[in-house]
Each structure stands twice: as structure tokens, then as C-alpha cells.
Assembly symmetry: C2
Homo-oligomer: 412 residues x 2
């Protein structure tokens, strides 16, 4: 939780956090500011002290709304900086950063750098600033395990409430998509058709998904997976916009929207066959569903998430499918991990990696469970995913309900 940040900084011997970039669609900045239209900002948080948010003058009102101490960049006269830097843009940025750090009392020590930002400009500024203040050491952290990811790994009830609300929105939209598909007539080739007789396309479905999300105050900055047939065999293929929707083919519908402005995410997947499921598709689905139910039974509070990944691999291998347990980088069968944490990042700690330490299903964790099987050469794939919350009382809560059914009954 956010309240753990100072302790985590101390454990890692980090004296200050430097976060760069916009307040929206930028997880560490969003986490500390709560979002808002504050672009190209700089946030400095020394250990055991409050953060200061530096921003452009034009966005000072938006910045104030974050509730943080705010200083506008105009405090540092661009005219003077330009003179001092002899017009060099990188040096101007470095001189200004030196002054901002100084104004926050950061003149030495280890400064962690963060933010979803322009790497080129940030890298050049950091290298030039390092030359100006050699007593400061800028350090980066792995995206598997930063100060922020460790803090974000446990959520407050307020954060969970926002994720739960996104779960409600997400499953509402999935329900609308299901009805929308079921309402379409089918031609002699078992292809869904629109009123004008032309085939309904994946692109049309995605347009509706975007509309229905927008209506509910959500957006999908990371896209939506709606993949049919061979595409369903590739876990991250988002689907081909011009593809038709044919009965009896597996459709993987993986939707992971966030609050408008880049706040909390939800993550949810169902696999559908329109009209009917052929034997092979039904068998693949049954295998995944069986493993899903067993995993849910095996979940225990405070267990390492990686243990659940090992269990999932063993279960799939017992069914005869390859998995990462005994095949390196398998191209078919079970090819990914059983889940991941989520919050202001769609993927965050805890990680379900067999080799990763920590990453417990501890109280406060919010994470997905998403076993799947993929056979692109057999034109099919199946994944089932729900998001869970490890409650303070040690129980697990599925954050949104939706039926698991494979076959979508067509109305016509």
C-alpha cells in the first residue's frame, strides 16, 4: 500500500523517488497524484517527506487538484537556464532538474527514477544531471520488482472498490456483446450477417465494445482481444478486424479496460463458440475448465503465486498438454502463466512465476486466474479468466460474476 512506500524505500536504500511524465496513463505518477490532465510533470518524493509536483504553468489548476504541494516550472527562469546552458536543450533540462532536486532537499544519495515517459529525453536529462551533481546516483529498477510495484502489491479497500466497479462495468459490456452476437442471423455458410446481408466483422464487434465502455466511463488503452479461429490459438493476438464470425469456432474475448484517464483496471476472459461447439473445441474447453476449478480449490492465502503456476502446469501436463514446466517456451498447449496482479497497471505484482521469490497471494492482493490452452495449427484456443481479491480475513473474492458457458445460443 501507498503507506508502505517510505519503509520500502528504506529497505532498498533509496533516498528519493523521481517520477517523470504525465499524470494519466503512467502508473507510478497516477498512483501518487490520482491522475488529472497534468502533462510532462516531475514528482520528487524524498524518503519520509511529502512529494512535490512540478508542472507547466498552464496546468497549475489541474495540478492543485491532486492535493500535492505544487510548484510550476516557471519558478526556474527559462531565460536564465538557457543562458547558463548556452542554449543546449538537454543541459537546460538537467540544470532545471538539479534545481528542483535541490528545492526538495535532494543533494546526494540514491534516487530511483520512474515513469512511463519519453526514454530518449529522460535518459539524456538524467545523464547530464548526473554530471552536475555527482553525489546523486540515479538508479532504475526492474519492472518485475520496483519500489512502486512492491507498494502496489497490496491494495486498500478503496482501491479494491474501484477495481470491483470496473469489474461490474466489464461484465456488463461482455453481457451486451453476448446478446449482440446472439441476436444476429446466420447465412448458409454459418456466418453471422448484418441487416444489409453483409457479414458481421470483428471490427464491428470491437466498435461496439469501445462504445459500451465509453458510455460507462471506461476505456481500453491496452486494446481488447476478440480473436476467432486460428487467431484464438495465439494468446495475445487481438483478432483481425476483417474476420467474419462463424459458428462453432472458438472465440477468445479478453477485455481489460481501465477507468477513463488511466486509473484502475479490470481483466476478464471468456471463450465462446457461437451456436454449437464441435467435439474437439468442447474437449479443449472442458480441459481448461477442469484445471480452472482445481486451481481455485488449491488457492490458499499467503501461498506463493508461483506454486499455483507449478500446479497449473502439472494439471495441464497430466491432461497431455505441453507446459513451461517441462518445455521451454512452448508454442502450443499451456504457454503462459496462470495469472498476474493488477491495479493501476494491467500487469503488476504478484507475478505467477515459478522462479520468483515473494509474490504471495497475501491479504490485499488483487490478481487474475487465467488458465488457457492454445493450438493455432488446429485453429483453436481457450482461456478462462476472472479477477480475485485476497481479503484481509483470508478468504478470496471473485470481483465480478459472469457465466462460464462455452456455447452462445443463437436466437435465430
Amino acid at each position: 500500500m501507498k503507506t508502505n512506500l517510505d519503509q520500502i524505500m528504506q529497505d532498498r536504500n533509496i533516498d528519493a523517488l523521481l517520477v517523470l511524465g504525465d499524470a494519466e496513463h503512467n502508473a507510478p505518477m497516477y498512483y501518487l497524484t490520482g491522475g488529472g490532465h497534468v502533462n510532462a510533470a516531475t514528482l520528487i518524493k524524498p524518503r519520509d517527506k511529502d512529494a512535490t509536483l512540478f508542472c507547466n504553468d498552464m496546468e497549475r489548476e489541474e495540478a492543485k487538484n491532486t492535493g500535492l504541494k505544487t510548484i510550476t516550472y516557471s519558478k526556474y527562469s527559462l531565460k536564465d537556464l538557457r543562458k547558463e546552458a548556452k542554449g543546449d536543450m538537454i543541459q537546460i533540462m538537467a540544470l532545471r532538474l538539479e534545481k528542483m532536486l535541490g528545492d526538495c532537499g535532494v543533494n546526494s544519495g540514491r534516487v530511483g527514477v520512474y515513469g512511463q515517459t519519453d526514454l530518449s529525453a529522460s535518459f539524456s536529462m538524467l545523464m547530464a544531471t548526473q554530471n552536475l551533481i555527482p553525489n546523486v546516483e540515479f538508479i532504475g529498477e526492474s519492472d518485475m520488482d520496483s519500489v512502486f510495484l512492491q507498494a502496489m502489491e497490496t491494495k486498500t479497500e478503496d482501491e479494491v472498490a474501484r477495481i470491483r466497479k470496473m469489474g461490474k462495468i466489464t461484465t456488463e459490456v461482455v453481457g451486451k456483446v453476448k446478446s449482440f452476437l446472439a441476436d444476429h442471423p446466420v447465412n448458409e455458410d454459418e456466418v453471422l450477417i448484418k441487416k444489409d446481408g453483409s457479414p458481421l466483422l470483428i471490427g464491428d464487434v470491437k466498435g461496439k465494445i469501445n462504445l459500451w465502455l465509453a458510455e460507462r466511463g471506461a476505456e481500453n488503452p491496452e486494446a481488447t482481444i476478440f480473436a476467432i479461429d486460428r487467431d484464438a490459438g495465439f494468446p495475445h493476438s487481438v483478432g483481425t478486424p476483417d474476420d467474419e464470425l462463424r459458428l462453432g469456432k472458438t472465440i477468445i474475448f479478453d477485455i481489460f479496460p481501465c477507468e477513463t484517464g488511466g486509473g484502475y483496471f479490470y481483466d476478464f476472459t471468456r471463450t465462446w463458440c457461437l451456436g454449437y461447439a464441435p467435439e474437439a473445441e468442447q474437449k479443449l474447453y472442458d480441459d481448461v475448465r477442469e484445471v480452472y476449478e482445481k486451481i481455485i480449490e488449491k488457492m490458499e492465502i499467503n501461498m506463493p503465486f508461483g506454486d499455483l503456476q507449478r500446479i497449473t502446469c502439472e494439471l495441464f501436463e497430466a491432461q497431455g498438454h505441453p507446459s513451461p514446466l517441462n518445455t521451454e517456451a512452448p508454442q502450443e498447449g499451456y504457454v503462459h502463466s496462470v495469472g498476474h496482479g493488477l491495479g493501476v497497471n494491467v500487469h503488476e505484482r504478484p507475478w505467477a512465476r515459478m522462479e520468483a521469490e515473494g509474490n504471495l497471494l497475501q491479504p490485499g492482493a488483487v490478481f487474475t486466474i487465467e488458465p488457457g490452452l492454445y493450438y493455432p495449427e488446429r485453429d483453436m484456443g481457450v482461456r478462462i479468466e476472472n479477477t480475485y481479491y485476497a481479503r484481509p480475513d483470508g478468504s478470496f473474492e471473485q470481483l465480478a460474476e459472469f457465466d462460464f458457458g462455452l456455447v452462445v445460443e443463437m436466437k435465430d
Copy 2:
């Protein structure tokens, strides 16, 4: 243009480009790949050679669609890397990057780093890789003037066609918003009301804007400015969702959507007073409009954009408004620059900065013209913006048409 990249690299003594991050919502990666759901990718382009795109196995199909040479990360055995790195995640990433660079023939020289990406992870990886291959020097560039921004500064006809299409979508949506507002009845306090008698709010209007954009295959990842009254006095205030819409107050409506998936942008602003315009608001609008018309007359092919900024400042100062020409960081009057280039970035070269060299309105440039005046303490602001294309024949094309009118006639 993209075809100039090798020459620009040579001029800047850059031996290779290293671009990190997703293919979408990441301008340099989008520019070279054309987008697609390819996440956490690595693109390496040595000078005078083709680029190679490295990606996760799960996204290999999406990566192939870019038309680039593609290698999946599984080529570099994670098991072996983990052993070599003794489990250290940062070192694993560095070892893999060393191998990817080697496979592209990059074993020495100056490597420019780019991408909208996780600064912490990228910075840690680059510092660790630098230790592994000391003959490679990673360099960042200013976000005012990188290799990419210089290449992007001139557009092909294909790129302009996509921007023009976004202009059509943008102005269609603006037209719908205008009718939507005009159709609302007004109560005794001159506030627009909905069917249920409650006030229409800015948040409602923004919901409609998002819907209408989504319907047309566009999105607004950088938000939309719809700011009334005092908010209109701050150029980058996006507006307060709970604000009511009152007759006679200035509304700044600045909309800058892009193609879904993070492609080409458009940028457009109108200022409206619903029902009627009080004298002071009308005067402010007339001042901006007068300056706008004069600027358009003064535009000449190949002129420095900064000269146009100077002219704009002089024109506003002649009207009695403060400007950056003689006031540093003015808080009211004319407070920003007269425009900016746009393409796969909403803001890019050419820059309208008096002190910036280059940045010409050369053939192929696409840029905004957007003079404005801001008086937050008088509860008003005005900005007018259109996007222009400097054609190869030396003429300027306004890329989308829309009426300039300040007053929106209410139907009721």
C-alpha cells in the same frame, strides 16, 4: 520523412537506433512498425540497414503484420540467461539486449535510445548493458529535436491523407456537439437542462464526445479540453466534469483525437458562447480572430515557425495584451505559442519557438495555428485553432473546415 532516417542518423553520428516499448501509443515505435498489439518490443535499426523487431512469442503473429524482420525473445533462452545472470532480473535484460544488438551487428558505436516506455526498467537495463559492452555508447536526445522528430517533421502524402481523415472525423464530432448543445432547453438561471430537469454537465458532454469519436474509429488518449468560464482562462484546463453550461460564458473546446491504436492525430479548437456573447467576451474573441486572420496572411512557405510566433506576440501586444515577447511566463493575455507540428505525436516539430533554429514551415510540414487569449481572473478565455499542411507546391491547405462563429444559437 521516414526515408530520411539514415541520412539524419549520419548527420548526427548515430550508428543505430534502439526503440523500446509497445507498438501502439508510442510514437517512434508506431512510426517504424505501423502499430499493432505488440507489447514490450525491442526494435533495432543500424544505420543503412533494415530494422529488426524483437517481441514476445505470444505476439509473433501481430509482429509479422508489421512487415519487419521479426525475432521472438524465445531465441534467447531465459533459462540460460537466468543462469548467466545468477537470477538478477536487470542483468537478464542486459544480457539479452547485448545479444540482440550483436545479432543486428551492433557491437560498438553510438546507439540512440527511444520509446515511450517504463523509464525505471529501461534505465536500469541500459546502464547494465553499457557495462557489458563498453564500446557501445547509449545516448538520449532532447524531445525537442531527436532523429525521429526530424524525420517526422515532413510528411508523405499518405501520412497527410490520414491526418486529413482525422480532421474530417474531428470536425464531424464538433458539429454533433454544437447541435447537441443547441438542442437543450435552458432554465431561468440560463443553465442548459436535460430532459429530467437536471443541469447538463461538462462530464455529460465529454461522454458524448468519447462515444462519437469511438463510433468513427478514433480515440482521445490525451483527453479533450471542454472548459467553461474561469476554466477557459487556463489554456490546458480540461474542464470540470461537474460544471454546468451557462449561457454567455466562453467555452474552449480543444479536441485532439488520434486513430484508434495510437496513430495520426488531429488538433482543433473553437471557442463558443451559448445563446449570446457579452461585450467583453465578444471583444476578446474579436481580438483573437483578428490576429488569427493576420497570421494566416503572414504565413509563407519555408519561413521559420518562430517568426510567426514573434509576429503573433507583436499583434497581441499592439492590442494591449501581454505576451512572451516582453513578459516572461505571462499568466494572462497571450501565454503559449502560436502552434506546433503534429503527426503520430500530438505535439512535434516544427516548433513555434522564437529561439529555436530550423523549424521551418517547409513543404511536407503539418502544423497547427492556434492564437488565444486568457484572462482567468475575468472568467474567460478564447482560442481558435486549425491544422494546416504546407503542400509541395508551396501553398497551405487547411486540413478541415468548420465555421468560426463564437455564438451558438440555442434552438429553444
